[in-house]
Symmetry: C2
Amino acid sequence: MTRSTRQDTGQEQFLTVLSRDEALARFEAALFPRTIPTEELTLADALGLALADDVMAPIDVPPFDRSNVDGFAVRAADMATASEALPARLLLNHETIACGVAPQIPVLAGTATSISTGGPVPRGADAIVMVEHTQPTEGDAIEVRRGASPGQFISNAGSDIARGEVLLRAGTVIGSREIGMLAACGIALVTVARKLRVAVLSTGDELVQPGDALRPAGIYDANGAIVSAAITENGGEASFLGAYPDDEAKLEAAMREALAAHEVLILSGGTSKGAGDVSHRIVNRLGAPGIVAHGVALKPGKPLCLAVCDGKPVVVLPGFPTSAMFTLHDMIVPLLRRMAGLPPRTEAKVTAKVPLRIPSELGRTEFVMVSLVEGDEGLVAYPTGKGSGAITSFAQADGFISIEALADNMPAGSEASVTLFTPHVRVPDLVVIGSNCTGLDLVVGILFRAGLTVRSIAVGSLGGLAAAKRSECDIAPIHLFDAKTQSYNAPFLSDGLELVEGWRRMQGIVYRPSDIRFQGADADEAVRAALADPNCMMVNRNQGSGTRILIDQLLGPARPDGYWNQPRSHNAVAAAVAQNRADWGVTIAPVAQSAGLSFIALKEEHYDFALVSARKERPAVQAFLTALTSPEFNEGIEPMGFIRPG
Amino acid sequence: MTRSTRQDTGQEQFLTVLSRDEALARFEAALFPRTIPTEELTLADALGLALADDVMAPIDVPPFDRSNVDGFAVRAADMATASEALPARLLLNHETIACGVAPQIPVLAGTATSISTGGPVPRGADAIVMVEHTQPTEGDAIEVRRGASPGQFISNAGSDIARGEVLLRAGTVIGSREIGMLAACGIALVTVARKLRVAVLSTGDELVQPGDALRPAGIYDANGAIVSAAITENGGEASFLGAYPDDEAKLEAAMREALAAHEVLILSGGTSKGAGDVSHRIVNRLGAPGIVAHGVALKPGKPLCLAVCDGKPVVVLPGFPTSAMFTLHDMIVPLLRRMAGLPPRTEAKVTAKVPLRIPSELGRTEFVMVSLVEGDEGLVAYPTGKGSGAITSFAQADGFISIEALADNMPAGSEASVTLFTPHVRVPDLVVIGSNCTGLDLVVGILFRAGLTVRSIAVGSLGGLAAAKRSECDIAPIHLFDAKTQSYNAPFLSDGLELVEGWRRMQGIVYRPSDIRFQGADADEAVRAALADPNCMMVNRNQGSGTRILIDQLLGPARPDGYWNQPRSHNAVAAAVAQNRADWGVTIAPVAQSAGLSFIALKEEHYDFALVSARKERPAVQAFLTALTSPEFNEGIEPMGFIRPG
């Protein structure tokens, strides 16, 4: 597909953006009513599926009057005057009622029959006395020294489950407890709603399947796997059919085949307009009524396309992972569950405070993924903030908040309702917000193996400092350079925060090993060589980072080509150089090494921790501080390419 | 096994009852430390399993600087002065960067390259302008009428996931979101903790497998199915091996075979001491150290037996369903999860008020299954009250409360912490507490199909009235006869309650059709015949029931044999007569019919509803009242054997 084609059709794509509710209403109208396919399964196979019909109890449970103890079946009236002084003497009947043994001899007045727990109470008996409360005596008899009330230690027939009552209702999901009730009634087979057969197909020239080698400009297909897994988690039977390039004929053949063999077709990974066009044209040829909604006033999720083709739903998900996941869970899964006779998924919600103003697009309901941490005054909801293009936005969030279409932001300090992705909020033992470092993984790993949970939110050094000042984290990892004092981190701490020394990271100039301009140069020589060649391009770092200050010192007044390419991480610098987007930049040694770049050491960067003093005595914070001095840390940090202070 | 054997060994069985914590500590000491068996699986197959090792990100995600929109890759500096009046004009490079296309041409000053969402940003570009903000112009160029900030609409390499960071920790359960993160990094295979292979074997002469015909004195094996399903729900691989009678040689062979092929052996259904003895003797021969705890100060659950045989756990669960389930979930599942590398199951708790005094056994921690309903002042926890022998005690409960060993009761009005069996409390739309009737199922079914949830708790008429007075239910079904006024139900209502007419149930004398003493008799004749034969045995009803009053009227001063056999339900009366425990009794027509008994009609019993007036306007209560006059009800109630009033 060429650029011009895309631009031509691009204008028509979102002409009829619908509200979420209108889009859903159209989709539902085209899908329902419909019958729910069923099948008969054994109890074990039915686990997790929904009952298709009400189930009536075919028998009483217990099926007979049952003894609840080991003892003797008696007539209570025989013990009316029994006491320690004047025990009742009962002749033993020549029968022992074990479990599974039907009694033959009636218990007449003055007699007793030995009975086990679970045994059927014989005719004539109206109570059980426990074996512990009897004494064997001569003449094949027992003595009882206390009274017995009629009915004692007997469970009557039907007292657990009564024959004819509705045991379980249609739509009930069968768990182990339901299996117990069905088995207790002797039911071995149940009719359940059959699992929905869902085909998942990824589209996009750029997609590479996990396990295959990544080619230049290729990305791994995450959506295919995540959509398939989400279908499985929601009781469907997902078939992932692989990724197809944007070849219209081949894709159409694959989609037709998928739809013939399945009840639902979901296309994942057709990013935005370009790839979408092809699939949308095909969808409209697959059957009536075709596309019922394309473009929904949701953020993320606008490009969602909903179709019904000859009774089968066909969905083209947005290509960005978070958009795809969010629309799948919000709009598609509920309908698939309904098609499969499953009850709605229960959603848990909690209230949390939003620490920062969250901007929002007017006119679209906006959903913002958040991580939850415990602040001084309850839960705080942190936007995960990586955008809908990031897989981690969705995968590492605890839930989401929604900002209504009529608002253009959610003000800082708002109380928001957070819909959780999992039923429980597990408030972590330790919250770390700030700059990330692979060295931090070493410390977190030590805590993790000690059974502590750690939430680490990467928002950069300044974001971490702000969170620490608001007491929303225990520890903020920072590496901030103060030009005035020519020192790291300490000058940035305010009251209530204290500095804990972490480790150091050697910063240096990186270049491709094949680049003869830099081979053998020291730092000054390298910078001179770079500035001398107008074709030599640099990659910078973001304003405010310590590395940026270092770069500006190296450059002096020069502003070479690439100066405005200012990524926010060491990894992005290494990738830019490795992939020829730039020829040199400044990053840290471990990152240079894993990217396969040559490295000219410059200066140590101090990666330290701003600790919230008020939280210092918490056990998890103490454990963190202990981990920083542990042998495991001391032995592990240097092999990772970091430098211990001191 | 004979009675005397049981008595002999019975005394030794519980000599060393341990506290729950001590029993667990011994079990753990014999089981841990141990290695967790692992296997390598594809992502899809790993769904729901726990990661065996930490997983590091092998690549940056995105792997390159990526465009987030459809547009043009540019140099921001070229648009520094762009405005509506003075647009920047950029020459188009002869390249289109679609997804999956590696750029070849650098973006030099004054040029732009067409790029799709997801395309790699070419060398030289430091920003993307959206296609919507450009205008094609002559000479293969575009015009841009607004400024661009460096980095705009670019996601840098590694901004989502940074190469080398710990992506997921060992022990993380793989859900769809984790699968997305692994797939995005190109990981196709993961090493996970293998599912634990658990053999489940039921023991007991009385057990019949679901689907087989129930023989006299037999009961269906529910524990085998429920234990197997609970293992599956907790990530294990359960093999149910069937039920074995108490034949020591055969059972031992089966247990040895099971243990050879599995990692865990659980015996379910060995009721109390009798059946237990056999299995316990065998367990002690299976390997060292053998039984580590037998008898735990828990109620229910005292007979639990924990053993480790040559490194493999062997558990003999108590035979009563609720005891078995409770000990399985409380003491066994956590250890099995730990053996399988799975994290602890998260438990949700809520606080609820206990409406009644709950007696408890001193010296044992007692767990009481409860159902939750919404009262006027929050949640109310109703003991399910059928005892540990009942499968429904566990299956229909929302959760449980615990009463400490040092207390002999929990006072009415206590605030109790309820551990939920499922993550959410779903407060039902309508709460019905009182006497149960299969006719009520018809009404509940109508509400259910209208999407309303109904909780029905059977506590008898008087229990229902008490709950209604405490506003703990919406409706209490009752059938109480007032001897003084010779009328049903109305005389029992107090302020705040109003009567809603339900239906009537014909009560009558039942007898086995083969019993010539009653054939062709009317009610008076039948009672005369019964009283005339000293071998003729009756079954009565509990004091306080309307049927009991009717029986006493029939009998006058006579107290025939069986008078003290006083079950609490119509079903139990029918079962007693059908199973020859008694020769006659009084029950209602539909129950007589389904038990296959002959029936001599006596008098209609009124099954009505005490409605809590303050709750009358609730939508679910209105729906209930509407259902009582609906065609579906009117057409369904009489075929069920009930009589419409009026």
